[in-house]
């Protein structure tokens, strides 16, 4: 087979693969531009089914009542009053998704804090019956997630995020020991917002969304018509080969 023919064949197949890639990129761009099209799983499919012990993501024991345990899986919080034999839902007023740490206060009976990786800290003073959201000590920038926390005595909280460490004292509020400077955080936010605006078309104003939709639809058309033309060409060649 001649070199030219080999290159032509490679070009054809790589082109087809690229078309599939373009389809994926275009369809995902449409989806990202219209988040309302992308709903979460249907509610019935993810209704709480109780704690699956193999799926526990965080667990803490009450220092004032060792039989009282609080645990979480990917979607909810649970408590046990008999050292983990039976579990019941512990309602939080927002979905307890991605709980990555649960901590009881060592000196205040009933006080516990849970951290949700993407949304923040929730505090309860009565063992988890009534909650309040704790204001975060930072404005989350893209990619900043809560990683872990620790409760010390006298209401002190230590919080670790991907950016650094924070420390809370009831009288003084939050102090930070972040590894990044405010300028760096601001730059990170600006860049992230710029990329987000460019990706979604918002950078071009209100018409950007429609511009991107048109481009995505054009790419989908080009990919599909390319696949069709390629298939037609192959079919014609096969027919010609058979006839000859």
């Amino acid at each position: 087979m001649s070199m030219r023919r080999q290159i032509w064949r490679a070009h054809k197949w790589i082109g087809l693969c690229a078309c599939i890639f373009m389809l994926i990129v275009s369809l995902t761009a449409l989806g990202l531009n219209h988040p309302e099209w992308l709903t979460a799983e249907r509610p019935s499919a993810i209704a709480a089914t109780g704690l699956q012990r193999q799926n526990i993501t965080a667990l803490a024991a009450d220092p004032f009542n060792p039989k009282h345990l609080v645990a979480s899986d990917e979607h909810a919080l649970y408590q046990s009053l008999d050292q983990g034999h039976a579990w019941q839902d512990l309602p939080l007023f927002v979905p307890a998704e991605h709980v990555n740490h649960i901590a009881f206060a060592p000196d205040q009976p009933g006080r516990l804090v849970v951290s949700l990786r993407d949304s923040g800290l929730y505090l309860s003073d009565d063992g988890g019956q009534i909650w309040e959201e704790m204001p975060l000590p930072f404005k989350p920038v893209a990619g900043e997630q809560i990683q872990t926390l620790s409760l010390a005595g006298k209401g002190q909280i230590h919080l670790k995020t991907r950016q650094g460490l924070y420390y809370f004292e009831p009288k003084a509020g939050w102090k930070n020991n972040v590894s990044t400077t405010p300028q760096a955080r601001q730059q990170q936010e600006t860049r992230s917002n710029w990329l987000y605006d460019l990706h979604t078309g918002k950078i071009f104003g209100p018409w950007g969304l429609y511009l991107y939709d048109a481009a995505a639809l054009a790419l989908i058309f080009l990919s599909l018509s390319g696949i069709y033309l390629s298939w037609r060409l192959m079919a014609r060649r096969t027919l010609t080969a058979k006839n000859s």
Partner: protein
């Protein structure tokens, strides 16, 4: 050479262009509806008056137990929409923390205690403003405090606006319980 220039330009745009230094967190506040506009939207043609209702300690305890969350307010201000002296609708302005800043929205409820309409008034963050769209907000219509009103249970969140969806759902539930406990069945 052209490629080099283009790549350098892209690199500068993405990583090197000057950014403001050490500014306070930016609020991307966008007012979609003023209070008057929101009231005109949720109570069209009704005569609107505002009313303040105080929370007693016992009521607060009851409400907190139902919501599983602290209610710091000492009183609430609600709007009553009347037609020929008959109350047709109530409305409450809620402020719920989103990712960092509060989302301000209005919940309109009929005298039977079910949601008639939810409208977003002010959104203050860069991402997640898709919660203002009818496709999301219409899910709350006709729901009452007896419904779970929780994302992943009877409300479907919007991808890209997950935490805002949680906040709006929690706020609507709070509005319904407050109205029910303080006005409809005190």
């Amino acid at each position: 050479m052209r490629k080099l220039v283009a790549l350098s330009l892209l690199g500068w745009l993405m990583w090197g262009h000057p950014t403001p230094a050490a500014e306070p967190p930016t609020v991307y506040e966008k007012v979609y509806l003023t209070q008057a506009q929101a009231l005109a939207t949720v109570m069209p043609g009704l005569q609107v008056k505002s009313q303040t209702v105080a929370l007693s300690a016992a009521k607060r305890k009851q409400i907190q137990a139902r919501l599983h969350r602290k209610v710091p307010e000492n009183q609430i201000t609600l709007f009553v929409g009347q037609h020929q002296g008959k109350t047709e609708r109530y409305a409450l302005v809620m402020n719920e923390i989103g990712k960092y800043y509060p989302i301000t929205f209005m919940v309109a409820v009929n005298p039977k205690g079910s949601v008639e309409q939810v409208v977003i008034m002010v959104y203050r963050e860069k991402r997640g403003d898709a919660v203002r769209r009818g496709r999301f907000l219409n899910q709350f219509n006709h729901k009452s405090s007896q419904d779970a009103l929780a994302v992943n249970t009877d409300i479907i969140h919007l991808t890209g606006a997950t935490i805002s969806s949680w906040s709006v759902a929690a706020g609507v539930k709070k509005a319904l319980v407050l109205l029910e406990e303080l006005v409809l069945h005190p």
